[in-house]
C-alpha cells in the first residue's frame, strides 16, 4: 500500500470523523424542540436560582450560542470558541468557565486511564500469547479468567473491588482521590497521598483491560500457531522462545488496530468507574453535570472525550503504519 498513501488516507479518515463528531456534538443538543436555552434556564429556575442570576445566564447563553443567528453562524461560533479553549460558562457553578472545571478533572482521568490502557494492553497480550502457546491447563485458567474479566462491566468490578477491598477489608480508602483537607498541588505529600486512592480504580480498570486483550490475543495467537511459518521455523530447529516471539509479533499487529478500535469503549467504561469511586475525573464531572442539567459541561466533556479518543486512535494507526512491514516496506518485486 505504501506508507505515504496509508498515512494520507488515515489522516483524511480521522479528519472526517472529527468533523462528523464535532457536528454531532453541536447539532444533537440543538435538536431539542424549542430554544435550548429556554429549556435549560427554566429547569434551572426550578432549582431555586434567583431570577437575576437567571437573566444573566440567559443573556450569556444567547450570546455564546448566537441563537439569534442562522445555524451555520452558530456552528462557526461554536468551533472558533472551542478552538480558543472557550467552552463557555457552567450553569451550576456559574460563572466558572467550563475549561477551568475540565482542567481540574482531566489530570485525574489521564493518570487513571493512560497507564490502565497501556499496561492492560501489554500484560493482556503477553498473557494471551502465553496461554495460546502453552495450551493445556495454563490456557484454560488464563482464558476463563480473562473471559470473566472481559465480560464484566467495568463498574461491576469496580463496585465489587471497592466493597471488598476498601469497605470490608479496609486495605484502600473507600473512594475519592485524596484525603480530606489535602488539595491538588505539586508536592510529594500530595502524590503519595493520592497514590493510595489511585490504586483501586486503576486496578479495576487494569484487570478488565487485561482480560479483554488476553482473550483477543489468545484467538489471534491460536490462529497464528497453525500458520506455515511456525511449522517451517520449527523444522529449522528454531527454539520455542524465538517462535513465541514471531507469533507475538504477528498476532500483535491486529491487536494494535484492535486497541485503536477499543479505546473508545475503554474510555466510556472508565468514566463510570470514576463515578463508583467518586474519583474527581471527567466521568464524575459528567455525572454531576447531567444531574444538574449543566449543558455546557456535558457538551464540553463529550467533545473532549471524542477528540481525545480520535487523536489516540489516529496515533495508534499511524504507529501501526510504521510497524507493519507490509505497509512500511511496499512490494519491491524481487524476481
Amino acid at each position: 500500500m505504501g506508507l505515504r498513501r496509508y498515512l494520507v488516507s488515515k489522516t483524511a479518515w480521522y479528519l472526517g470523523a472529527l468533523l462528523v463528531a464535532v457536528v454531532l456534538n453541536f447539532l444533537l443538543p440543538r435538536l431539542i424542540p424549542g430554544n435550548p436555552v429556554d429549556v435549560i434556564v427554566s429547569q434551572l429556575g426550578r432549582g431555586g436560582m434567583s431570577s437575576e442570576a437567571q437573566a444573566a445566564i440567559y443573556q450569556q447563553f444567547l450570546e455564546q450560542f448566537g441563537l439569534d443567528k442562522p445555524l451555520w453562524d452558530q456552528f462557526w461560533i461554536y468551533v472558533t470558541h472551542a478552538l480558543q479553549g472557550n467552552l463557555g460558562l457552567s450553569f451550576s457553578f456559574y460563572p466558572t468557565p467550563v475549561s477551568d472545571l475540565i482542567s481540574q478533572s482531566l489530570p485525574f482521568t489521564l493518570v487513571l486511564q493512560i497507564p490502565a490502557i497501556i499496561l492492560g494492553w501489554i500484560i493482556g497480550n503477553l498473557l494471551g500469547a502465553v496461554a495460546a502457546y502453552k495450551g493445556g491447563s495454563w490456557d484454560k485458567s488464563v482464558f476463563t479468567t480473562s473471559l470473566v474479566f472481559n465480560s464484566m462491566p467495568y463498574y461491576c468490578l469496580s463496585i465489587i473491588l471497592l466493597y471488598g477491598l476498601a469497605v470490608v477489608l479496609g486495605w484502600f480508602p473507600p473512594g475519592g482521590a485524596y484525603s480530606l483537607g489535602n488539595s491538588p498541588e505539586w508536592s510529594w505529600d500530595f502524590f503519595s497521598d493520592a497514590l493510595q486512592y489511585w490504586w483501586l480504580p486503576f486496578l479495576s480498570l487494569l484487570l478488565i483491560n487485561i482480560g479483554g486483550q488476553a482473550v483477543g490475543m489468545r484467538s489471534m495467537a491460536i490462529y497464528e500457531l497453525g500458520s506455515d511459518y511456525v511449522n517451517y521455523s520449527r523444522s529449522l530447529g528454531i527454539g520455542d522462545r524465538k517462535m513465541t516471539g514471531y507469533i507475538f509479533r504477528n498476532a500483535m499487529l491486529p491487536q494494535i488496530t484492535g486497541l485503536a478500535l477499543s479505546i473508545g469503549t475503554m474510555v466510556g467504561g472508565a468514566l463510570i468507574t470514576e463515578l463508583v469511586f467518586n474519583y474527581p475525573g471527567m466521568g464524575t464531572l459528567l455525572f454531576s453535570a447531567i444531574s444538574a442539567n449543566d449543558y455546557p459541561i456535558v457538551q464540553a466533556v463529550t467533545l473532549i472525550i471524542t477528540v481525545a479518543v480520535l487523536v489516540a486512535n489516529y496515533l495508534v494507526e499511524v504507529l501501526y503504519g510504521f510497524i507493519d512491514p507490509r505497509i512500511r516496506a511496499a512490494k519491491s518485486g524481487e524476481k
Binding site: 500458520s227 506455515d228 511459518y229 511449522n231 517451517y232 521455523s233 520449527r234 523444522s235 529449522l236 530447529g237 528454531i238 527454539g239 520455542d240 524465538k242 514471531y246 509479533r249 504477528n250 499487529l253 507493519d324 512491514p325 507490509r326 516496506a329 511496499a330 512490494k331 519491491s332 518485486g333 524481487e334 524476481k335
Partner: protein, 343 residues
C-alpha cells in the same frame, strides 16, 4: 548395495489421532533408505502418507499426528523418532535444520511476514550455535547466495516483497544454510510456474553437486519431475512403501502393479509409452482407519490373486529393487504388463 547409506529410517509408524475416535495410521511400519549423495523420490496418490512420512523424518510431527515408533540412523547417530514422550521435542530440536531439514510445500507463508529473510537466517544459525554473531551469519548467507548466483539484496527483504519463485529459492537457501545431511523437499515446486520450477530444481541439483547436503528426499505427485531429478524412487500406497528402487528401473520395469498404474497414469507420452494403453487406477485409496486385509492394493489390482486378500506380501529385495507384491513373487523378473486393460 554398493552405495554408502546416508540415512536409514526403520519401522516408522505414524498415526493421526483425533482426540475422540479412532487413530489413523498414515505411515505403517515403513523402512526406507537414502544412499549418500542421491535424491530419493517419494511418490503416491494424495493421502498415501508421503507428506506424513516427510514430517516424521523431519521430526516435526505435531498433534494430531504422532510418531509411534521408528528410528533413524544418520551420520553415525541413531535417533528415536517417536513423539509420544514429552521430551521428544527437546530431543529432536538439535537435529532439525542441521541434520535433517525441511523444504516445505508452499513457501508463500513459510517466512513470518514481519521477519526479514536475513533475520530468519540469523535465527536459524543462532538456534544451533548461540555463539554465532550476526556478521558471521550474514557472511554465510551472502556467500551461499553468491554461490547460487542469487541477488544478495533479497536477504534484506520481507517475504511479501519477493516473487513466488524467489521466495521459494530463498526458503531453500535458509533450509540448507547449515548444510543439513538430509533435505526433505515436500512438493517444493507445486505452487510455482514452470520456469520457477526449473530454476528451483536446477538449484537443488547444484546444491547436491556442491555437497551442501548429502541427500534429498523429494516428495511430489508430479511424476515427470520425479523421474527427471531422482536417483531412486519409493512408491507409497496406503501408508506402506510398495516398491523402491533405482528410478530408471521403476520407470521402465515396474514390478508392482500399483507403480505401473501410477506411472502410466501420469507419465508424459514418450515414444515408448505413447503406444501403450493407459491403465489408469480404478477406485480410490482405502480408508486408512480400516485398511483392506492382506495387500492393501488388492481391491484395485487387476492382478489380484486369492492370497492377496489374505496375507500381506513381504518386501523382497531383488538386487537393490525392493517390491512387496505376490504377483511379483510369482513372476520373478517380469515387468508389469502396462497395456493390459481391464474388462
Amino acid at each position: 548395495m554398493s552405495e554408502k547409506i546416508l540415512m536409514r529410517a526403520s519401522n516408522l509408524t505414524a498415526s493421526y489421532a483425533a482426540d475422540s475416535g479412532q487413530d489413523v495410521p498414515a505411515v505403517d511400519n515403513v523402512t526406507i533408505e537414502v544412499p549418500e549423495g542421491q535424491i530419493l523420490g517419494l511418490a503416491g496418490e494424495s493421502g498415501c502418507g508421503k507428506s506424513t512420512m516427510g514430517n516424521a523424518l523431519a521430526m516435526i510431527a505435531q498433534p494430531p499426528l504422532y510418531v509411534l515408533t521408528g528410528t533413524m540412523e544418520i551420520d553415525g547417530e541413531t535417533i528415536d523418532l517417536s513423539t509420544l514422550d514429552s521430551g521428544a521435542n527437546a530431543r529432536h530440536r538439535p537435529f532439525r535444520g542441521k541434520v535433517v531439514s525441511m523444504l516445505p510445500q508452499g513457501a508463500m507463508n513459510a517466512v513470518s511476514p514481519t521477519l526479514k529473510i536475513k533475520d530468519l537466517a540469523y535465527d536459524v544459525m543462532r538456534a544451533h550455535d548461540p555463539r554465532v554473531t550476526r556478521a558471521e551469519a550474514m557472511d554465510r548467507a551472502n556467500d551461499r547466495l553468491k554461490m547460487l548466483e542469487l541477488p544478495t539484496r533479497a536477504l534484506d527483504s520481507y517475504a511479501h516483497q519477493l516473487s513466488g519463485g524467489m521466495k521459494q529459492r530463498m526458503v531453500t537457501v535458509i533450509s540448507t544454510l547449515l548444510n543439513p545431511r538430509l533435505l526433505i523437499a515436500d512438493e517444493p515446486t507445486s505452487a510455482l510456474d514452470v520456469s520457477s520450477q526449473k530454476a528451483l530444481i536446477e538449484m537443488l541439483l547444484a546444491m547436491i553437486e556442491a555437497k551442501i547436503m548429502a541427500g534429498v528426499i523429494f516428495i511430489t505427485h508430479d511424476l515427470p519431475v520425479l523421474s527427471m531429478v531422482t536417483d531412486r524412487l519409493a512408491i507409497m500406497y496406503a501408508g506402506k512403501v510398495v516398491e523402491n528402487g533405482r528410478t530408471e528401473d521403476l520407470v521402465h520395469a515396474a514390478r508392482h502393479p500399483y507403480t505401473s498404474a501410477l506411472l502410466a497414469a501420469v507419465l508424459d507420452p514418450t515414444e515408448e509409452t505413447r503406444t501403450k494403453h493407459v491403465l489408469g487406477i480404478p477406485g480410490s485409496p482405502p480408508n486408512l482407519a480400516n485398511p483392506p486385509s492382506g495387500c492393501r492394493f488388492h481391491p484395485r489390482c487387476p492382478f489380484a490373486m486369492e492370497i492377496c486378500s489374505r496375507k500381506e506380501p513381504a518386501m523382497i529385495d531383488e538386487h537393490g529393487h525392493d517390491v512387496a507384491c505376490w504377483w511379483a513373487q510369482e513372476n520373478p523378473g517380469a515387468v508389469v504388463p502396462m497395456e493390459v486393460s481391464r474388462v
